[in-house]
């Protein structure tokens, strides 16, 4: 029976752990399991036969680690032959009672952009393994225990390019509910099912309880059967022994829940045995499978997140700013292959609320495919949101789709026949979504009817390649109202018609206002109109407050923001009531400004106070010092944390600098004392010392900061040159704190009686006391301790 037919008939039973069984049967430490099995075929046949007898419908070949990379660690060079031989053994054991899945595990190297391994080299390595599995007669391929979505993709692409066998992919999710690479289960499903996996799921790492939750979460979005292969409970160490909590009965007790959740294939991973599988078989007996119900899924994904495009949900914002058109700086940096602006623009748009990012890298004379490759490597690891590839260059599209570790959207494909012929097969091959531009070789139709004909034509062509209407977003094609007064109306009619047909829609929002001033108003008005016609997504500037707010309002009015949840979240947050200017005196404002770290606001306030007749010395002594002292108190009582204290100190310092020239003219500056600060030799960690210096200066101390990695001799010289100074030493590491002793000993041996204060993360009061020095845990305490050291004189 074929894999597909088996899935229709029943909940398919997979096998259990192989490694566990091999260890029981005598596999030694440090030996390649796959080579050992080939040398001990009887053992392997017995294990396979045990699972077949237990009821497994599919058994996995013992080739989990038989990829060329892992085998090379054991000096084995013929991966293809080893895979073939082990697959033949599995076939022999399975006979006609079970199918054999050629097992492909992680290669033990991370692939670009997450690792150093070249993507195409990885595909090639997996192909070598797959050739062997196919030659050995595998009925299907299973890519399992994947912790990096890019490696899963590389193996899946290798499988699809090497054979027509069905492919199942299972990822391993850790306690955080993500793969080690950071991919959540739904993003993985979206990526893998669109790329052609015939079943997707999870295995290893966790027990049935956690995996059940994943299957429940995935089922509504699964176009393909779902698989679960949990461990026999959560593995943990008892002493140094790995233990699993679930016996066969306890393990199988989850079977009905898995069946109800919609699992289509189930087995066991680490710690499971044929007894576990037999128990599962008994509990699943007669239960009907829940086959996937959805034919298509409108969703795109990246390695760290996904975007579901759903009718009647809030309008989706796709950031438009990574586009060199009209942006000289971006154009020039792209021409120089410099992607720093692309990264910065991506980061800004995400922060501004973009749910996906349109990426257009088209510059005259630029190598677009290469630019896309580089940009995707950068953006894929930087962005939490999926990418939309904005290019018409088929080579750039293929380069992008092949290496993008997610399901991308192409912007755009029109009805132009030559482009359709090249681009639709790429969409089908990589399972992308695309934006359908309703224009053709005759240009942009002015009338809606002609646009509709193009949409129908492209959808028909797409369907021939298995591309569903859910994989398509129709562009309303909003033309500039300044040039085409009827353009916006035609776009709205297109959107309205698509809404009726169940098609998703998009607009490039800023097109509509091209050539006119104050474009945000036209953009916003058009967005509201389009939203009322059911627009799904807008490619727009997420920084525009007008359009962002209109979008939220339109979502409420069109019923897409149920209970106005998003709107309320944006607008109902309590607005800070600005205190009446009359309520605070200028000096109160100075105090608040220091306390709140308002570095840019202080100088005008000081000038206002001076203009009102205040003396600089009085401002410092009566207003600023009490304010910074209060900041210190708040820090000590944990109502402030370090950045607040430092911001207050910086604000204070800026103010003192501003007043200092005035002080010299009309007042005396007594100063609190002199402090020499240094981070000891060998230690390069000095941020703590810098903070202490800042706070000491705030409190009127004169600070001589010698920097970091300062030799003892230099500190001694300074101490002699500045009689009466307190010497502060800092060290972050246990290894460098010993240098403090050297400094103090050297100073004392020269007869200098200066006082020392020590600080640093690894120090304490006792250690400092043992060297005859004082100690302070932070800058606030340092002020007090140094004052007392000076007063002790």
């Amino acid at each position: 029976m074929s894999f597909a037919n088996l899935l229709k008939k029943k909940i398919v039973l997979l096998d259990g752990a192989m490694g566990t069984q091999l260890h029981v049967k005598g596999l030694s430490e440090g030996v390649c399991p796959e080579a050992w099995c080939r040398d001990n075929p009887r053992v392997l046949l017995d294990i396979h036969a045990g699972y077949v007898a237990a009821g497994s419908d599919i058994i996995y070949t013992c080739t989990f680690g038989a990829n060329p990379i892992k085998l090379s660690n054991y000096g084995i060079t013929d991966a293809c032959r080893l895979n073939r031989d082990l697959c033949k053994l599995a076939k022999k054991a399975a006979g006609t009672r079970a199918l054999v899945a050629g097992d492909i595990g992680p290669a033990g190297k991370f692939i670009q952009p997450f690792g150093e391994w070249d993507f195409e080299a990885a595909v090639k390595a997996f192909k070598e393994q797959i050739r062997g599995l196919v030659a050995g007669g595998a009925d299907l391929l299973v890519i399992e225990t994947m912790m990096d979505i890019q490696e899963a993709r590389a193996a899946l692409i290798a499988a699809r390019e090497s054979s027509d066998l069905p492919v199942m992919v299972t990822m391993t999710f850790d306690r955080s509910g993500r793969t080690l690479g950071g991919t959540d289960p739904l993003s993985a499903l979206i990526t893998l099912q669109s790329l052609g996996a015939q079943a997707v799921g999870c295995n290893c790492s966790s027990g049935p309880q956690d995996m059940l939750a994943i299957i429940k979460q995935l089922k509504p979005y699964a176009r393909v059967p779902l698989a679960a292969k949990p461990n026999a409970g959560l593995p943990r160490l008892l002493g140094n022994t790995a233990v699993y909590d679930l016996d066969p009965r306890g393990f199988a007790a989850f079977a009905p829940d898995f069946a109800a959740a919609g699992v289509n294939l189930i087995g066991g991973c680490c710690g499971t045995t044929p007894e576990h599988i037999a128990a599962l078989a008994a509990r699943l007996n007669g239960r009907k499978p829940r086959l996937p119900k959805i034919g298509g899924l409108s969703a795109i994904s990246g390695p760290f997140g996904h975007l579901l495009l759903q009718k009647n949900k809030g309008l989706v914002v796709v950031g438009e700013r990574i586009n060199p058109s009209g942006k000289k700086a971006l154009r020039e940096s792209l021409a120089d292959k410099d992607l720093s602006l692309v990264r910065e623009t991506a980061r800004q748009q995400e922060a501004q609320g973009a749910q996906a990012l349109d990426v257009n890298l088209s510059v005259p004379g630029g190598d677009e495919p290469e630019l896309f490759k580089h940009a995707i490597k950068e953006l894929a690891v930087l962005c939490r949101v999926p990418l939309v590839m904005d290019t018409c260059d088929p080579k750039a599209i293929e380069a992008a789709l092949r290496i993008y570790p997610g399901r991308a959207m192409i912007n755009s494909i029109s009805g132009e026949k030559s482009k359709l012929k090249k681009l639709l097969p790429l969409v089908a091959q990589y399972g992308a979504m695309f934006i359908l531009l309703p224009l053709d070789d005759q240009g942009i139709p002015a009338e809606f009817k002609a646009r509709r004909a193009i949409i129908d034509f492209v959808l028909r062509q797409a369907a021939k390649l298995g591309i569903t209407p859910q994989d398509v977003v129709v562009d309303g094609l909003a033309l500039a109202v300044s040039a085409e007064p009827e353009g916006p109306a035609a776009a709205l009619e297109t959107i309205k018609w698509c809404q009726g047909q169940g098609l998703l829609t998009s607009v490039g929002l800023s097109n509509v206002s091209f050539g006119l001033p104050q474009r945000q108003w036209l953009n916003s008005a058009f967005l509201a109109q389009a939203s009322s016609h059911g627009l799904t997504m807008a490619i727009m500037n997420p920084a525009s407050l007008e359009t962002a707010n209109i979008r939220l309002a339109a979502d409420v009015l069109s019923g897409r923001d149920k209970d106005a949840g998003q709107y309320l979240a944006r607008f109902s947050a309590p607005q800070a009531k600005p205190q009446s200017p009359a309520a605070l005196s200028v000096q109160d404002k100075i105090s608040v400004c220091i306390l709140e770290g308002g570095r840019n606001a202080l100088i005008p306030l000081l000038d206002a106070d001076l203009a009102a007749g205040a003396r600089p010395r009085d401002i410092i002594d009566s207003v600023m010092i009490p304010a910074i002292t209060r900041a210190g108190e708040l820090f000590e009582s944990r109502q402030y944390f370090l950045p607040q204290l430092v911001a207050a100190a910086e604000t204070m310092e800026g103010g003192v600098k501003h007043l200092k020239p005035l002080l010299e003219k009309g007042s005396r500056d007594t100063g609190a004392g002199l402090v020499i600060l240094a981070t000891v030799e060998g230690d390069i960690h000095d941020i703590g010392k810098n903070i202490v210096a800042l706070i000491l200066r705030n409190h009127g101390f004169r600070v001589v900061d010698l920097g970091r990695d300062v030799p003892a001799a230099r500190i001694v010289k300074e101490a002699f040159g500045q009689p009466g100074a307190v010497v502060g030493l800092s060290a972050l590491m246990t290894t460098t704190m010993a240098k403090m002793k050297d400094v103090i000993s050297l100073v004392r041996s020269r007869g200098c009686r200066c006082k020392f204060i020590l600080g640093g993360a690894v120090l304490n009061k006792d250690y400092a006391a043992s060297l005859g020095a004082a100690f302070a845990k932070d800058g606030v305490e340092a002020v007090k301790v140094i004052k007392s050291l000076i007063n002790d004189k």
Partner: protein, 214 residues
């Protein structure tokens, strides 16, 4: 099996901000911030993410002999440390780990000190937490790699310079992990530079036949 595995980009996922906040003394229950303060710190975190390139590497090495005081490895390396030998008891392999946040963030902290010290403090805290997170991430990688082999990572980790594990072992670890690949250097005092770089040693248990505890 002694090959270095390189992780060119370790994802900076959610959670590092919270850890950095705690590192800087944030106590949710008692601390209050103005919206402007909150926005400024959030902005600095965002800049930190831009500046940090979190990379790392790791390798498994067989332990050939483990006494109470010395760990002898198959590559010829020997670590003389009672404390390290103690945590590796029962292990068949060590894992050497290294991670760096890169030069850019450290340079920014340096430039900001005295100019925008608030930003320096936030960048510094974020980078410290990021490299710590990276070591945990690499350990998790090995934990998942060894699970199908019936082994476990012990998760405890030990760095040169702590207890009796002498700092000059940093040189051995640095060389073994080929850390120079990421622009990491070792000072004459065996301090790793750029500053936000860490190395550690962890262990992998010998294989045991899994047992069930019911």
């Amino acid at each position: 099996m002694s090959k270095v595995i390189f992780f060119e980009t370790i994802p900076l996922l959610d959670g590092i901000e919270e850890r950095a906040m705690r590192r800087m003394g944030y106590h949710e229950k008692v601390l209050s911030m103005t919206p402007a303060q909150k926005q400024e710190i959030t902005g600095f975190f965002s800049q930190a993410r831009q500046l940090i390139k979190l990379q790392g590497c790791g390798m498994r090495i067989d332990i050939v002999k483990l006494t109470d005081e010395v760990v002898h490895l198959s590559t010829g390396i020997s670590f003389y440390s009672k404390a390290l030998a103690g945590i590796l008891k029962g292990c068949s392999q060590v894992v050497l780990l290294g991670a760096t946040a890169g030069e850019k963030v450290v340079e920014s902290v340096r430039q900001d000190s005295g100019v925008n010290t608030t930003r320096a403090v936030v960048l510094d805290a974020y980078a410290s937490e990021a490299v710590d997170y990276a070591l945990g991430w690499i350990i998790e990688y090995f934990a998942q790699e060894v699970m199908p082999e019936g082994k476990r990572v012990i998760f405890k980790r030990f760095s040169a310079g702590y207890a009796d594990f002498a700092l000059d072992n940093q040189q051995i670890i640095f060389n073994a992990l080929l850390l120079a690949r990421y622009g990491v250097r070792l000072t004459k005092d065996h301090i790793l530079a750029p500053e936000k770089t860490v190395t550690a040693v962890s262990g992998i248990t010998a294989r045991n036949t899994p047992k069930r505890v019911v």
